[in-house]
Amino acid sequence: MAVVQMPARRRHMSALRRREAIAGLLFVLPWIVGILAFTVYPILASLYFSFTDYNIVQPPRWTGFSNYTAIFTSDTDFITGVQNSAYYALISVPLGLVLSLVLALVLNLRVRGVGIYRSLFYLPSLAPPVASTIVFLMLLDPSHGVVNVFLTTLGLPAPAWFSDPSWTKPALILLSLWTSGTATIIFLAGLQEIPQSLIEAAMIDGAGRWQRFWKVILPLLSPVVLFNLVMGVIYSFQVFTQAYIVGHDTGDPVGSTLMYMTLIYRSAFKYFRMGYASALAVLLFVAIVTVTFVIFRVSRAWVFYEGEQHNA
C-alpha cells in the first residue's frame, strides 16, 4: 500500500512546491524588475556612457578613454573636488564616530532620563538638509550671526565661516556633527546588548574604567563601529546638498565648497556632458568601493564577532 501511494504523494508535493515557487516569484517580481531597471541597467550604462561623448539629445558617441584622460589632465576642478570631499570625509567621519560613541557611552551610564536625551539628540536628524543648512548660514553669519556675536562678547576671534574659504569646510563639518544623533542611538543599542556579566567579570579581574572600555566594551562594540564607519564613508563621499546650498555649482567662496558630487551634478545637468559626468561617477564609485573594501579588510584585525569567540 505504502509503496504504491508514495509516487502519488510525491507528485502532489511537487505540485504544491511548484505553486509555491510561482507564488514566490510573483511576490518578488517587482524587485526583480526594480533591480534590473534601477540598479543593473544604470551601473552598466554608467560604465558605457563614461567611454562616450553624450549630450543626451544626440545618441552617445564612443570616444574611448578620452573622458578619463581629460579628467586627469585638463580638469583643474577635479583636483579641487577630490580635495574638498576628502577633507570633508576624513574629518567629519572620525569626529562623528567619536562624538556619537562618547554620547552613547554617557547615555549608557544609566542616568535618569536617557529616553528624553536620546530623543533630543535625534531631533536634528529630522531637519531637512535644506532647512538645517540655511539655519547654519544664519547662526554662522560673519557679522550678525549669533555664534560670532557670542564669540566677540567673550573676546574670542570670530571666523567668517561660510564667507572665508578656509572656514567653509569646518562649518560644513559642524553641520554634519549636529546630526550625530542617529549614530548615537545605534551605538547605544549596541552597548545595551553587551552582557552585564562580561563587564562585571572584568571588574572582578580588577579592570578599571579605562581598561574595561578598551578591552571589553570597544571590542564587543566593534561590529557597530564598523557599520557606522562604512555608512559614514559612503555617505560623506557623496555629500552634495549642504555644500550646494552654501556654494551653488561654483563652490563659493573660491571653490572651497566645490564637492566631488557637485562636479558630477554640474557636468551632467548644467553642461549636459553625460559621458564626462558618468566617467566622474565611475571614478567615485571605484573610490568608494576601494575604501569600503580596505576598511573591511583592515577590520578583520580589529572587529570582533561573538561567534568567533565561541569557536576558538
Binding site: 512546491r17 505553486r19 509555491e20 515557487a21 510561482i22 514566490g24 516569484l25 511576490f27 518578488v28 517587482p30 524587485w31 526583480i32 524588475v33 526594480g34 533591480i35 540598479t39 544604470p42 550604462a45 554608467s46 556612457f49 554620547l103 554617557v106 542616568v111 530623543s119 539628540f121 535625534y122 531631533l123 529630522l126 531637519a127 531637512p128 538638509p129 535644506v130 532647512a131 540655511i134 547654519f136 544664519m138 553669519d141 549669533v146 556675536v149 557670542f150 562678547t153 542611538i185 549596541g190 572582578i204 579581574d205 578599571g208 557597530v224 557599520f227 557623496q238 546638498t241 546650498i245 558630487m261 551634478y265 551632467a268 559626468a277 558618468s278 561617477a281 567615485l284 564609485f285 568608494i288
Partner: protein, 296 residues
Amino acid sequence: MARQLGAKVDGATVVAPRRRLRRIIATLVPHLLLALVAFLFLWPFYWMTTTGFKSIEEILSPNIIWFPGVWRWSNFGDVLNYPGFPFLRYMVNSFVYAGSVTIGTVLSCSFVGYGFARLRFPGRNILFAFTIATMMIPTVVTFIPTYVLFRYFHLLGTYAPLILPSFFGNAFFIFMLRQFFMGLPWELSEAAKVDGAGEFRIFWKIMLPLVRPALIVVAVFSFVWTWQEFFQPLIYLSDPDTYPLSLGLFAFQGERTTDWQLLMAAGTLTTLPLVVLFFAAQRYFLQGITMTGLKG
C-alpha cells in the same frame, strides 16, 4: 591580576570618605555633559523657530536676543503669501510626494520581503545575496542612466521619476521586513493552507497584520527621507509650481538671501511636519534606527 585587585581594595579603604564625593560627581558629571550637548543640539532649532517670529532689527542687533519682543506671526503670513513662492502648494506637493513614496515602499517591500522570507522558489538565495549587495551601491553610479531612462519615456518634469521607483522595492526595507516575516510562527501559515487559503490570502489577511509595527517603521522612515530629499527633485523638476518644500525653500533662499525672519519662518514650516510625526511615532523611530544599526 591578584596584585592589581589587592591594590584596588587597599586604595578604596584608605580613601573611603572621598568616595561619597566621587559618587556625587559621578552622577552629576554625565548629567551636566548630556544637558550641555542637548542644549547645543536643540539650540539651532530654538533659534530657527524664534527667529521666524523676530523683526529684522532684533536679528541684526549686536546683542543676543533670546526672545522676540513681539511674536510676529505676520512673518509666517508673509511667507505663505509671498508672490512667486506658493508655500502652501509646496507643502501639498511634499505631502503628495512623500505620501506616495511611502505607500509604494510599504506595499512593494512587504510583498518582496514576504516572498524572500516565507516562500521557496529557485534562485531565492542568489537574489537575496544580490539584494544585500545593492545596499552598498552608492547612488552616484545610478542616477545619470536613470535620468536618461525617464527622459526616454518623456517623464522629466513630472513626479513619476521620483515616485515610481518606490513601487519596485528598496533593498534596505526589504531586508528589514524579511527579518520580521521570518520570525512569525510557521504553524499559522500551515494551518491556513490546510484550510485552503491561497498564498496571497495568507500574506494579506494573516501575515501582514502581524508585522504592523515593522510596516509603521518602514512608513515613517520613507516619509521622512522623502520629505528631506533634495537632489532628486532638483534634477527632475523644473516648474516651480511643482516643487516640494525642500526645493521651494532653496529657491526662496536664492531670492531673500539674508531676510532671516522670512527664511526661518519658511524653514520652520518645512521642518515642523517631521517633528510632529516624530513625537507621534517616537518609538517606531527609535526601534527602526536600532534595528538598522544592529542588523547591518
